[in-house]
Symmetry: C2
Subunit: 216 residues, 2 copies
DNA sequence: AAAAAGATTGACACATGTTATAATTTTGAA
DNA sequence: TTCAAAATTATAACATGTGTCAATCTTTTT
């Protein structure tokens, strides 16, 4: 049973490609299941068979594009924790920049159709990296002894979730989102840093003080 | 032309009441426009005439219930800024507590149907009070000179927005939401407080360290 | 090659938010 | 009181996500 799976994968690919084409050339409003099936050259039923729902098609779009900016970031490598975190933010900024408008509408659409899923995904991902970071940083003496890694990770996650949401709805630009994230995270970390890590964090904090007005 | 407006107001009230009844007794899934019109004793068209859309009916529900926990809070009175802020949080906690489940489903439904509106409402309200607080606190020497009130208000708003969203989706309980808010806000304020205000903020921060696990 | 299993298709259906249209009722002005 | 304006109603319709189900095509197994 390998031909069967290959055929299904090809259909999945066709559907993903069709979805992306429609979104890019006609806009998200035109992405209906009927039109999607049409452009992909499959029946209306097939996207449901292969993805389950419209929302899951959209999620597959982000997965396929490796949307998660932290997935392949330097944070996964063995840098000192703080440097890794800053690298992850740089990486995220670059990833977003590449194709901001497209990611934005897709992410927004997912939020509209199922905010629980979108939120859970965003929070879980960020919680994971935030907590990994905190543990790593604790071990390397970059955070005060007794810092609650879980709690710290959750705080970082809360902030990023909100900022992602505001980015998706157009409240923050791409750049401003990253600035807000850096500033918010630095602010939190200022309360947990040690003398050795303080200068870096303070620099990060100070580097984000030039405010940009949110979009009207 | 006063009878006309009175009649419209009565219809609006009937519709709001019907919506609340349906949500409370049958659940949000049963709140369809057709059923709403039925229970309210009006035609299907009338809610659209009087509110514009289903989402706006739900927003009217929150408005009518004075859902905004900061609207009538002690923060509006002439207390020292920090005390006012803490009073506002206590007040918010009480307001939420009163009828948590109902508010939660209504707020959540608004987020699902129009997260921009919901977010704008939440952010704007909190930005306003956050910035008012910051100005007040600056003037009374509770914040470091040179603190950017706008920026500070925005930061507080970002955090509360995220927490509200997580509360709506059931990620945080009522109590945990408030704890996270207090802790997040105190964390931010720690970076801006003066020697006089530091003890209060540190107390607020320390009082929120007993973590509760988020709902699964 | 034939039968069985699995996936796709097509046509239809349903629920829901929303809109259109024409008829009817209600209100305010003449 | 009469009449024009405004609001409401009844009814139908539309678009869309999603489900049903039998028929058909494709792959796997025998």
């Amino acid at each position: 049973m390998v031909e069967r799976e290959k055929a299904k994968d090809m259909n999945r690919a066709k559907i993903r490609a069709a979805a992306e084409t429609i979104i890019r050339t006609e806009g998200m409003e035109k992405l209906t299941m009927r039109r999607l099936a049409d452009v992909a050259g499959v029946s209306l039923r097939t996207p449901y068979n292969l993805f389950g729902s419209k929302t899951e098609v959209l999620i597959a779009l982000l997965d396929g594009a490796q949307f998660d900016p932290f997935q392949n970031s330097p944070a996964r490598e063995n840098l000192p924790a703080l440097a890794a975190l800053m690298g992850a933010l740089d990486h995220a900024e670059a990833t977003f920049e590449e194709d901001e408008a497209y990611f934005r509408v897709v992410f927004r659409e997912i939020m509209i159709s199922d905010p629980i899923e979108a939120q859970a995904t965003a929070v879980d991902g960020v919680l994971a990296i935030g907590q990994a970071f905190a543990i790593q940083a604790l071990n390397s003496g970059e955070l005060k002894d007794g810092t609650d890694a879980k709690e710290l990770g959750r705080h970082l996650g809360i902030q990023l979730t909100a900022i992602l949401g505001m980015w998706a709805t157009g409240f923050f630009s791409n750049k401003e989102s990253m600035r807000q994230t850096r500033r918010g995270w630095a602010g939190v970390l200022l309360n947990h840093c040690t003398d050795t890590s303080r200068p870096l964090i303070e620099a990060m904090y100070r580097a984000t003080t030039s405010a940009e007005e949110p979009a009207p």
